[in-house]
Amino acid sequence: MRGLYDNEMKLEFLSKSSNEAFARITVAAFASQLDPTIEEISDIKTAVSEAVTNCIIHAYEDEEGIVKVVTRLINNVVEIEISDSGKGIENIELARKPLYTTKSNLERSGMGFTIMESFMDEVNINSVVGIGTKITMKKAIKKEEVQETISEEKNTKLIV
């Protein structure tokens, strides 16, 4: 029986900053099944790094908690869910705004959500204060028209 998704993977790890690189590299490696460009892969890495870092710094602050990452491939779309059971976001509207940060003392720029929104096609935020936050992001991997050009080139070469 075929599932709802073409492929799916789940990660769970402790909210340690050393896991930020692990999470983004793992999601990128999984998404590479869709044959993305280098730019698409680095967009995904950056967005994952932003969401995972937010769980570590904002959701759990000095405590240790679990960060969950689910990645699904549906046709040519990568869907990534990043969630925590931390403190939650009081005002989501405000949190999305560029330069808005509740931790300016730690040299945060408040650009995390802005980067996620500009690097992914869709970003949804679900959050309940005291319960946790779930970020769902989607990005379509564009099928390139380059293939045609390549085959044309091949034909030319064959003729020559």
Binding site: T46, T53, I56, M111
Partner: protein, 107 residues
Amino acid sequence: MKSEYKELDNLLILKITEEIDHHTTEKIRRKMDNEITRYMPRKILLDFNEVSFMDSAGIGLLIGRYKTSRLIGGTMEIVNATPAVKKVLEMSGVTRIIKITEGQKIV
């Protein structure tokens, strides 16, 4: 991070050699601040040739160091930014205050 100070030009070149995220910034920040306060340079060049990844943690780091360089009356420039890093720098507006110069081989 590697650093090089050119006394004649009062120029400090800082070459960052790791990915810049929340996990790595604290160490990088400490090293940068050490070098900056040690030499008090007129000009700081940040060589990003070996930085393959940077997220918003890097934006905070750069803006912080930019403020320090202004305080000591100096300037700051980024050279050799890779495409992925450049995209983050441009979209976040950092390039409006810190100039990116292309294609220079310095260190």
